[in-house]
């Protein structure tokens, strides 16, 4: 009985679940990358995905995934799906969206925020959610941090790196800074994202236009 249960349930693992369990820790919840490479680009440095997942990549941190060949095949398909371009029609006007981008987004996303080229591949729903609830899911490497140093000055930005002695920050002007903790009196991590919510500031039509523009930023 035990073995029968085992056999059935092994098949019940869905590909998304396999990805979450095996890959997301390094490659990000949506394949956006982090400790491991971005999987949403559709370009795979080591060639065949099945072989890469099955055997790992020697000389790197990428291990061989412990799963059946069937599961590895499903994982490979799922990883490919992360790079799939969302081709569903959007109603917005890209030129209007471009103007909105320049007015609301570019200043940060071209200095301290993530590069938005290719972001629309993840779908209109994801972009909409990111605009309305930017703190819901933070891409690895973009967690907000605010420190107050001994002379009372506050430095806000994203945390690039940290240890017990120092913290590295890209400030809101895009400058990388390294600060010794001995000179810091307070570290505030309570705000997950630097990006403000645009709920109530952009209406549906404007968001559609932004999405249409971002579609063009391949």
């Amino acid at each position: 009985m035990w073995l029968a249960v085992v056999a059935c349930t092994a098949l019940a693992q869905d590909a998304a679940g396999l990805y979450r369990a095996q890959c997301s820790y390094c490659h990000g919840a949506r394949g956006e990358g982090g400790r491991g490479p971005d999987l949403t680009t559709g370009r795979y440095k080591h060639g065949d995905l099945f072989t890469t997942i099955r055997n790992g990549v020697k000389g790197t941190e990428m291990p061989a995934v412990r799963a059946s060949d069937d599961d590895v095949r499903r994982l490979a398909e799922y990883v490919k799906s992360l790079a799939r371009v969302d081709s569903a029609a959007v109603s917005g006007d890209p030129a209007f969206g471009h103007a909105l981008y320049e007015a609301n987004c570019g200043a940060c996303h071209e200095t301290v925020g993530p590069d938005l080229a290719g972001v629309a591949r993840r779908g209109a729903a994801f972009v909409r959610e990111s605009i309305l609830e930017p703190g819901k899911e933070i891409a690895m490497g973009y967690r907000a941090i605010r420190v107050i140093v001994k002379d009372g000055a506050a430095i806000e930005g994203i945390r690039l790196n940290e240890d017990d002695i120092s913290v590295q920050i890209r400030d809101t002007r895009g400058q990388p800074r390294s600060l010794l903790k001995a000179g810091i009196v307070e570290i505030d991590r309570s705000k997950p994202s630097l990006m403000p919510s645009f709920a109530g500031r952009l209406d549906d039509k404007q968001i559609d236009a932004l999405i249409a523009f971002l579609r063009e930023l391949r």
Binding site: W2, L3, V5, V6, A7, T9, A10, A12, Q13, G17, L18, R20, A21, Q22, S24, Y25, A29, K58, G59, T60, E61, R66, A67, S68, D69, D70, D71, M140, R143, E162, D163, D164, I165, R189, P192
Partner: protein, 529 residues
């Protein structure tokens, strides 16, 4: 001339006879934990709170490996012996780090290690070095040349879900005690004793009682056949009692107890075995019917002290399950347990040390995020340290939030195309501030915390106390540190900038005290000018 050379070779003194292991000289580091009591303590006092700020890199050994570098080197008479992943042995000049000889054991392409193709170190006895391997061999080398003296297979490494042996062996009087791994792969655990001269197996203790043995029947149905309970770290030894102490791993499947109802002896336990026969003297199970992978594979720390008015032989044990335990190591009597990190699973302990478990802490199919400590535990395999000068126990504890997911078990097999291996662990990222590490100084006789030194991330480094009043260790970010052993104040640090997955050692070279610790894939040795 050949005859003379042969004569010299035959009459050359054994390098590290057993008497040296019984009372290691302060300038050497002769076994994984430094001494049989598992103290990881250096009796050297040349590095002190007054001069440690002058500590500098003296030399580096570049291991050039992508695997985690978890070795603890040995140092005997000016020569350092260490392992590099997977199973390579290097002898270095301890003064310069220059290589004297190397030995390579090649494992098959597929090995069945849990968490990297790692090895944690060697044992030495007389002129022999001992290394166990990922494909389940035990090898003896000539310490002077690296020449292989014998090699024995401990077990079929492809049996069940796969066996491996990554921990450091323990050399005793004429024998070597060796453990094995595979608790997440449905193996059947054991601890072995081998003749140090020949490699002949002298005894095997099954960590899951077999039919006809005492305590058989604590596993439902046939689950005992694949119950795990491995012995993947190293142990301790009391020469007066002639008892070997060793911790055991989780029962299998790790996070699903449905098929293995019962206490699942001797998983998540400490076993005390007669060193000559391998017979069980006593056991204590820290976590009956474990569901959280809370291995009890920490190094036992043996201390003597006055407990409730009576001088006793004791065993101090900060456990992966979040509790610090004090046991009588002669009898196995439970004396007390006290949590040293946040814990959510125990309401109380009865007089025999059995925990009353709080419901709601079990892994769930969707993932239980409210259990503390986390899956990697409050302590893991990294060494604790005990200082006889401060009479404090030092541990590098993990405060961590993680997810416990109940996965369906899979039949253990090493077939290449089968769904094998550990159940999938979901490892979502929690905010950094939800997890951290802390070096703690604990009074071993009371469990009271004397001080804590907090660090950014849950660690994978052990600690080492010294007679100079220091505690050394390293963080996951690569900050190598020295703390004041009495206050926890950080006195010195070095930015190693890569993960530390090992525990420090200290030794003498040319009359100066050095300290070594692997950082990333580099073994860094520090000293004063």
């Amino acid at each position: 001339m050949i005859r003379i050379a042969l004569l010299i070779a035959l009459t050359a003194p054994a390098q590290v006879p057993y008497v040296r292991l019984l009372k290691p000289e302060a300038g050497d580091w002769l076994m994984y934990s430094g001494n049989y009591s598992g103290w990881r303590y250096s009796a050297l006092d040349l590095l002190t709170s007054a001069n440690v700020r002058g500590l500098k890199v003296k030399w580096m050994y570049q291991a050039r490996t992508q695997e985690k570098f978890e070795t603890t080197p040995l140092v005997a008479d000016g020569i350092m012996y260490l392992t590099r992943p997977e199973n390579e042995v290097f002898a270095l000049d301890a003064e310069t780090g220059r290589t004297l000889w190397t030995y390579v054991h090649r494992n098959p392409e597929r090995t069945f290690n849990c968490c990297g193709k790692v090895n944690r170190g060697l044992a030495i006895l007389d002129n022999r070095l001992f290394m166990n391997t990922l494909d389940m061999h035990l090898i003896a080398l000539d310490a002077r040349s690296g020449r292989e003296l014998w090699k024995v297979k401990m077990h079929d490494h492809e049996a069940a879900g796969g066996y491996a042996s990554p921990g450091a062996p323990l050399a005793l009087h004429g024998k070597v005690v060796v453990g094995m791994a595979g608790g997440e792969r449905g193996v059947s655990g054991f601890l072995d004793g081998y003749d140090a001269a020949t490699g002949k197996r002298l005894w095997r203790f099954n960590t899951i009682p077999q039919p006809g043995e005492a305590n058989f029947g604590t596993w439902a149905g046939d689950s005992w056949k694949t119950g795990g309970a491995s012995t993947w770290n190293s142990g301790a030894y009391d020469p007066e009692l002639n008892l070997v102490y060793w911790g055991t791993s989780n029962p299998w499947p790790d996070y699903n107890g449905d098929f293995r109802k019962g206490d699942n002896l001797y998983s998540c336990s400490v076993i005390a075995l007669n060193a000559d026969t391998g017979k069980l003297a006593w056991y204590y199970q820290f976590t009956p019917h474990d569901l959280h992978d809370w291995d009890a594979t920490q190094i036992p720390v043996l201390v003597d002290g006055l407990y409730q008015g009576k001088q006793r032989k004791l065993m101090a044990w900060p456990n992966r399950n979040g509790f610090y335990y004090l046991l009588d190591r002669a009898t196995g009597e439970f004396l007390f347990a006290k949590n040293f990190v946040r814990q959510t699973w125990v309401k109380s302990f009865d007089a025999k040390g059995r925990p009353e478990v709080i419901p709601g802490n079990e892994p769930t199919p969707d993932g239980n995020t409210s259990v503390f400590p986390g899956v990697d535990g409050a302590a893991n395999w990294m060494s604790h340290s005990y200082s006889p000068s401060t009479k404090l126990l030092y541990t590098f504890a993990r405060e961590e939030r993680r997810v416990f997911t109940k996965d369906e078990p899979r039949h253990p097999t090493t077939a290449p195309d089968a769904a094998v291996g550990r159940p999938f662990r979901r490892r979502p990222r929690f905010a950094p501030e939800e997890s951290w590490g802390k070096v703690m100084a604990i009074d071993p006789l009371t469990g009271d915390t004397k001080w804590e030194h907090k660090v950014l991330s849950p660690p994978w480094s052990g600690v080492m106390a010294t007679a100079g009043g220091l505690v050394f260790g390293g963080t996951l970010e690569g900050v190598v540190f020295a703390l004041d052993a009495r206050s926890g104040e950080r006195l010195w640090h070095f930015m190693g900038n890569d993960r530390v997955y090992s525990s420090p050692i200290s030794f003498l070279s040319n009359g100066k005290q050095l300290m070594s610790l692997p950082v990333g894939d580099v073994l860094i040795t520090f000293g004063l000018d």
